[in-house]
């Protein structure tokens, strides 16, 4: 029982991180119908920013997690730059061009990080000083519960944002009909840029949660995370905000439970296997509407 509870909490923690990254994928896909394969690398950008700025925060007597505020700004700026410089020029020249550009951006960011930060992994200082509590014999890290709480809070916030605010509604209107959006006065380019900024800012929050669980930065950390989050987004139904959360949590739970109860080496195979099964039964994902659009 205690192992089960511990696995559950760890899985939810892992899942919340994936969910936040998946949210960024889903938002960009929702508005541009484009898979931003460089999205995972924003975790890396965020993690390195936290690595460099957390000690500065601490030296000024502030808590280390405040570094996430800087990471949010840095990620949003890098995200907007990537969109403006790399993606905007190929918009309208087909999904294959966009896909290849995104893959190129991913490689570019990873190699740029290699040049800037060097090839050796960096160890991030301790982000949260939270106690471990014991429930029903299970040792549970409070910071895991915090991660889960932040993940759920952000998902609810984003859902409210796109349904209740003027800008949020415009973000939903643009992919439905770009022409009509322009006619009513929505600056489509600005909305797309804003979507990238928000998606990348969420990646910075995910980076904080990641380094608080695994305090290590590597230049290629984003690509694996990116793939997992991509799976999460597709599993839950890409383009749908609650789908990203659900998909993230499912992928996180599968990973941890397979690691603990089945075989540690098999968790990725099983995650991919479940993705294939879900896509065979329901190609639009668990919460997706069947519109015949394939990712």
């Amino acid at each position: 029982m205690s192992i089960f509870l511990q696995a559950l909490i760890n899985g939810l923690n892992q899942g919340a991180i994936y969910a936040l990254i998946a949210l960024g994928y889903t938002m960009v896909y929702g508005i541009l119908r484009m898979i931003n394969f460089a999205h995972g690398d924003f975790i890396m950008v965020g993690a390195y920013t936290i690595f460099y700025t957390a000690p500065i925060m601490v030296s000024y007597g502030m808590p280390a997690w405040m570094a996430v505020l800087i990471a949010v700004v840095v990620c949003a700026i890098v995200g907007v730059l990537v969109e403006r410089i790399a993606y905007k020029p190929v918009r309208g020249s087909g999904s294959i061009s966009a896909l290849i550009t995104a893959l190129a951006m991913s490689l570019f960011l990873e190699n740029l990080a290699m040049v800037l930060f060097g090839p050796n992994p960096k160890t991030v200082l301790k982000i949260f000083k939270l106690p471990m509590i014991t429930i029903l014999g299970a040792k549970i890290q409070m910071k895991y519960l915090l991660t889960l709480g932040i993940g759920i809070a952000i998902m609810i916030l984003m859902n409210v944002f796109v349904h209740a605010t003027r800008i949020g509604k415009a973000m939903r209107a643009v992919p439905q009909d770009k022409e009509a959006a322009t006619i009513v006065g929505i600056d489509v380019d600005r909305i797309i840029t804003l979507t990238f900024a928000i998606g990348c800012a969420l990646a910075a929050v995910a980076a904080l949660m990641y380094v608080s669980t695994y305090p290590r930065c590597t230049t290629d950390m984003g690509s694996m995370m990116g793939i997992k989050a991509f799976i999460a987004a597709v599993l839950g139904g890409i383009g749908i905000i609650p789908g990203a959360m659900l998909g993230g949590i499912i992928v996180g739970l599968i990973e941890i439970f397979v690691k603990i109860y089945l075989a540690p080496g098999w968790y990725e195979a099983i995650t991919y296997g479940i993705l294939i099964v879900v896509l065979l039964i329901k190609p639009s994902g668990i919460l997706g509407k069947n519109t015949g659009v394939k990712v």
Binding site: R166, K169, A173, E179, A180, I183, G185, D187
Partner: protein, 234 residues
């Protein structure tokens, strides 16, 4: 109010508009009639900035429209009801109207205009929580007009509002256009239904393969032998 001069628009190698000129004065209903592919929609899209002009000019109250960002036109008072309605299908009627008032940040003002729109279209009030994609064609047309009115325009561009509607709904749409006009809004109307268009318009232009061939008072054009033959089926 609106002046189009020597407007040329190309789609690749195809010349869609071959240098057309026309004017719309404040308070008028001006209709552009012509067959499919004559260039009516292209003309409207160029005014709205959705299509780029190759040469020529479009001025609105003395301002060069070709230099203004398309998303700023509604703030200048130009609303567009596009051909095929183009409502946001996955949004509710209310949200569609919200988008119509996107450039207005004053929430109270938006609610006041919304009440006006519902006054005009009681059907929309009944369906305000329904997704626009589930409305009938006629209701979607009402919504597209309502959305345009939410921007409080001084001129409204209507592209084929009667297309695909039953004769009764066509009558309704035209009476709405007259109502809008009576409320002081200038109307530019693209129509294939020349009979209906000429009946409500002050002036008309006939567009044929990218050129204006006939123009004049709508009542005169109604008597014109060429128009009677080609567009009124008499």
């Amino acid at each position: 109010m609106l002046e189009v001069k020597d407007l040329v628009v190309n789609y690749g190698a195809v010349e869609a508009l071959k240098g057309i000129s026309f004017t719309i004065e404040k308070g008028e209903i001006v209709t552009l009639i012509g067959a499919n592919g004559a260039g009516k929609t292209t003309t409207m899209h160029t005014i709205s900035g959705l299509v780029r002009a190759k040469s020529g000019s479009i001025t609105y109250n003395g301002e060069d429209l070709l230099k203004i960002r398309p998303s700023k036109l509604i703030e200048k008072g130009i609303a567009h009801v596009p051909e095929g309605r183009h409502v946001f299908p996955e949004m509710t009627v209310d949200e569609n109207l919200d988008m119509g008032a996107y450039s207005c940040k004053d929430k109270k003002a938006v609610e006041a205009i919304r009440d006006d729109v519902f006054e005009k279209f009681p059907r929309l009030r009944e369906r305000r929580r329904q997704l626009a994609g589930t409305l009938s064609g006629g209701e979607q047309q009402m919504l597209a007009v309502g959305r345009a009115l939410m921007g409080q325009p001084s001129i409204i561009l209507m592209d084929e509002p009667s297309m695909g509607l039953s004769p009764i709904l066509v009558e309704e749409v035209f009476s709405i256009i007259e109502e809008i006009h009576k409320a002081g809004i200038t109307v530019m109307l693209n129509e294939q239904n020349a009979r209906m268009a000429l009946a409500i318009a002050d002036r008309a232009y006939v567009l044929e393969t990218g050129k204006i061939t006939i123009s004049g008072k709508a009542s005169d054009l109604m008597q014109d032998e060429r128009i009677r033959k080609a567009y009124l089926g008499q």
